[in-house]
Amino acid sequence: MNPPRASFFSQSWLILLLGLLFGGALVAVHTNLSPVIAANQRAETLRQLPGLVLPAAELAGAEITVSGDRIAVRRASGETLDLAVAESEVAGHQLYTLAAAGGAPLGYVVRGIGSGYADDIDLLVGLSGDLERLTGLFVLSQKETPALGDEITKEPFRRWFTGAPATAPLVVVKSAAEAESAPGRVLALTAATISSRSVCDIVNATVAAVRPQLAAAASAAAPAEEGETDGGR
């Protein structure tokens, strides 16, 4: 009878060798492709930003192209809107500030991540330039129940967030009449109340964390700009 250690190696040497070879191959693939994949993910995120800040009517039939930190929105009329994106981090959240080239911020988009029914939900929330209302919602990734919870990615659910006040937390309700009765109410998805609540909780937490800091930064910047203007007179 072989000693246990010798038996172990004689039995498993092929698996150990394959593990090393395949592991090395995967490291090489990961090292080479990671930058490309990260660039794809960033471009995909940036492509969503105009839809989260600009009114839907302005984007009807528009073609959006991303190049570095610039987003070009080519409208159906042929007119092109050139947008600049500034990325920063506020209160632990990734913040995208969208501005027309050389102009004041048109709005902000904040990334929020939180627990859903099945796994984390990663989403983008649009905030108006005056920080008074939400301007849109986009779910970047989720693993909610197919055909039930994953309806959070679709327009009928997302529309409840567009135009909702950013000054008070959103409330999930279960009847359409109640949802229509006042802004800031979100109609829960049928058979997916937990997913609906999760999205609202993530949005509420994200806005509550980011909005005061953005407001403070905006009010600090306002006198400075005023002073510069006065000094120029």
């Binding site: 039995q11 394959l18 593990g19 395949f22 994949i37 794809n40 693993k143």
Partner: protein, 217 residues
């Protein structure tokens, strides 16, 4: 029983030839319609042709790579560890396929979601490694995998064709039905996958039974 007694029989190319393997995988032993293997992607990603063909391409890459790799190391396989080796090999190539899709076909990678990593548990691949890769040479293993990939293409392509045309009036996103023809929205929803597969299976079974009936008459 001593381990030595469990060694695989000498792996010699005494099975079907490469051409026979190739042809068998396309229609006579079609993985979708004759063996009913790989049902998860057949039902899940066939709402339209583009995601279906991307899934076929990813599965073909894994199937061919894993079958040839297993064939190359077939003399080293121990019978009781072979499934472990198959799984390790398949998982490696699936991860490579997943990363390649995310890098060069990002929108399709997002659209297919978890179904690309799920190729690891696709029964077609492990079945071919067991039936052919672990017993015959690399050329025959390649032909076998290529034939089964074509068979899988026929399976997914036919289900996706039925679903996309009836459900959206398009094929590869191009309109093929006039606007006046009503769309069967159910066909692009999960029940539509079962309906389309059942109808196609019935058609294949009816076609297969025809010569037998004629002979009986």
């Amino acid at each position: 029983m001593a381990v030595a007694e469990l060694e695989l029989p000498a792996a010699v190319d005494d099975g079907p030839t490469a051409a026979e393997r190739f042809i068998a995988g396309i229609l006579p032993e079609n993985p979708t319609f004759r063996q009913l293997l790989g049902m998860c992607p057949t039902l899940a990603v066939t709402a339209a042709m583009k995601p279906a063909l991307t899934m076929v391409a990813a599965t073909a890459f894994v199937l061919i790579s894993a079958n040839v790799m297993v064939s190359l190391i077939r003399h080293l396989l121990k019978p009781h560890l072979r499934i472990l080796v198959f799984t390790l090999t398949i998982a490696t190539f699936v991860t490579i396929a997943d990363r390649l899709l995310a890098a060069y076909l990002y929108p399709m990678s997002v659209a297919l979601g978890p179904y690309v990593p799920l190729i690891i548990v696709n029964c077609i691949i492990i079945a071919r490694c067991e039936v052919c890769g672990s017993k015959q040479g690399p050329f025959t293993a390649f032909a076998d995998a290529a034939g089964n990939s074509l068979g899988f293409l026929i399976g997914l392509g036919s289900v996706a064709t039925v679903r996309e045309i009836l459900g959206m009036g398009t094929w590869f996103g191009l309109p093929v039905l006039p606007a006046v023809v009503p769309r069967w929205v159910i066909m692009v929803m999960p029940p539509g996958a079962f309906i389309a597969l059942a109808l196609l299976l019935a058609l294949v079974n009816w076609y297969q039974a025809r010569p037998k009936r004629r002979a009986e008459v």
